[in-house]
């Protein structure tokens, strides 16, 4: 029981962590809550279904690299969406008051939800796992000590780890990554040092959206059902994860996501499944009261 909840929590948590990265990176640089990020995750899940549709039309769906293609397609298209949203809805508001981009983001969020509802229908969409994976893979897994880890769960955690490691390498060891860190510390100074601040912001949205979409693809594979309103709850929780971990901090978002996933899983398993969504908020409030900068946040932050 305990181990099983731990595994489930880690699976959900790694999905939250992927989404949380997008929030934390944008917040770290622009200091605003990108409410539309949850919708990017939702787009990612839909894009996975669409990509799968294309692949099976061309008869490529049982190809070994098919899951990778699905993931890449969703990430690239969602990244394009992220960059476009930033260009249209946020860039003109760089110097506006703090509420403006927030309202704008809510507008984008409403727009995207209704866009997907209109074009894809209001009903649940099914992600046909069986088209992508062999039945043996879907049902199989690893069992030990009364607990079962399915291949899909492995796949989710593995993908999340690879993506996060890639991001960490990128941020810490490339020139562009260094530029990103510089902009998040002080945009004005970064500009003086010759960094293309707008370019870096665009890149942040591209990376964040790609990661969010990857989370969407993984969720579509995990649950098999997708709806146009999944972005709201997942986005909210991922945002909480980002705050709990310390907003603006990349490792914090990863930690916060995992923590939140486990708290939910254990809470649902041991306390009450009805109040599953409350645990996230209780953790949030406790963290904000006791350690407002988050677990791995900077004390010198603007709190």
């Amino acid at each position: 029981m305990f181990l099983q909840q731990l595994i489930n929590g880690l699976t959900v948590g790694s999905i939250y962590a992927l989404i949380a990265l997008g929030y934390t990176m944008v917040y770290g640089i622009l200091e605003f809550i990108n409410f539309a990020h949850g919708e990017i995750y939702m787009l990612g899940a839909y894009l996975a279904i669409i990509a799968l549709g294309f692949l099976s039309q061309w008869g490529l769906n049982s190809w070994a690299a098919a899951p990778v293609l699905v993931l890449l397609f969703a990430m690239i298209v969602a990244a394009a969406y992220g960059a476009t949203i930033e260009k249209i809805a946020y860039q003109p508001l760089r110097s506006a008051s703090r509420l403006s981009p927030l309202i704008s983001a809510l507008g984008v969020s409403i727009f995207l939800q209704n866009f997907v509802m209109l074009t894809q229908g209001a009903r649940d969409k099914v992600f046909h796992k069986e088209l992508l994976f062999s039945p043996a893979f879907t049902s199989g897994g690893l069992s030990f000590l009364n607990c079962h880890v399915s291949h899909i769960q492995f796949l989710i955690m593995g993908t999340a780890v690879v993506l996060m490691a890639g991001l960490a390498l990128f941020i810490n060891h490339t020139k562009t990554g260094r530029a990103m860190r510089a902009v998040s510390q002080d945009p004005r100074m970064a500009r003086l040092c010759g960094i293309n601040v707008n370019g870096v912001i665009r890149l942040t949205f591209v990376i964040g959206s790609a990661l969010g979409a990857a989370a969407g693809v993984l969720v579509a594979m995990y649950y098999g059902l997708v709806n146009f309103y999944i972005g709201y709850v997942a986005g909210l929780k991922a945002f909480i994860a980002a705050v709990v971990g310390g907003i603006g901090s990349v490792p914090g978002a990863m930690l916060g996501g995992l923590l939140l996933g486990m708290a939910e899983s254990f809470g649902a398993g041991y306390l009450s499944a009805q109040y599953k969504d409350v645990y996230a908020f209780i953790i949030l409030i406790l963290v904000l009261l006791l350690r407002p900068q988050g677990i791995l946040g900077n004390k010198t932050d603007r709190s």
Binding site: Y27, E31, F32, I33, Y46, L47, I50, A51, V77, A80, Y81, T84, I88, A89, P92, L93, S95, A96, S97, R98, L99, S100, P101, L102, I103, S104, L106, G107, V108, S109, I110, F111, L112, Q113, N114, F115, V116, M117, L118, T119, Q120, R188, Y232, L236, F239, I240, V243, Q274, Y275, D277, V278, F281, I282, L284, I285, L288, L289, P292, R302, S303
Partner: protein, 375 residues
Amino acid sequence: MWIGLLCWPFMGLHSAGIVAVGLLLLFLSFRFFDRKIGAVKNIFQKIPGRELAGRIPRNLWLGAVLLAVMLLPLALNKYYLDITITAGIYIVLALGLNIIVGLAGLLVLGYIAFYAAGAYAYAILSTQYHVSFFAALPAAAVLALLFGLALGVPTLRLRGDYLAIVTLGFGEIARIVLNNWDSFTGGPNGIMHIPKPLLFGLKLGSPVHLYFIVLAMILLVSFVIDRLNNSRLGRALVAMREDETAARACGVNTVKLKLLAFSLSAMTAGMMGVVFAAKMSFVSPESFTFWESIMVLCMVVLGGMASIPGVILGAAALVVLPEVFRQFQNYRMLVFGAAMVAMMIFRPQGLLPSKRRRLELEDPTLPSPDESGEG
């Protein structure tokens, strides 16, 4: 073209092509009319009621509006009256939120929780303890006030976005608790058969009566906010909004002020909750989602923060416009989202900005508050 390309996976090639061509034409025509739009803008900036309102005495103006509003129910059928009452409820809600967001500058995203507290208070008091409407009104206000204080005290230390998130969390917790505490709140089914208001044995059940109750509330709240706005307290609130540290240095007790703003806002919402419950004669957690909080916030921001006529206009517009465009069903929300973005880009100060803020925003000699704030 680019957006059409983005639409392609979701809509198929054919319709995405139409979107792309349409947007391209729109874009080109905008380019073409750009200069003319500038001219129109100039005219617009000259027209709006400023000079006009200046010539007519303010009291006369208000009196005329009031008279028109009093006579309004005569001209409306049941459906329109219903929408008007809904708009009225949202107007008061928006005015209440305006105290805390517009005047005090604290971003609160869980405002609807106070509204829910009021609505459920009346629902439970009236169906189980037979408390009358007018007795429940102050009771709900006090309850919401207590909630407001309960939320306000621990969150006082937080600033800006953190406060927004905590209040958001509070609102969600409230909704989930209402949804799951079956024995007390009826769970997802809600509470039914809530009685209509009674006054001296006279049943005020018809929409017209409700209309006047809501109208009275609008007047009361507008009056209070107007007085507050021009008082020492109101100026202290605005000072706190602009720069908390500086305000404190000038001897403003920010802790007390924040609590005051919180409780005033919460009380307004609590009272409106009672009216809402009486109007619908049914409450369920579904009426109190996060989106409701967002809608009220949008009303405040779209109308013009800290401006009473602006907020009233914003609230009325956001309730009435979707009804007007009901025939377009699905597309209206799509357009609504896009309109929010456009509004923020082209007119961030709102439809009718408050005089004080207008002066701040338009005076080129002053640095904008954000530039000085963030540095």
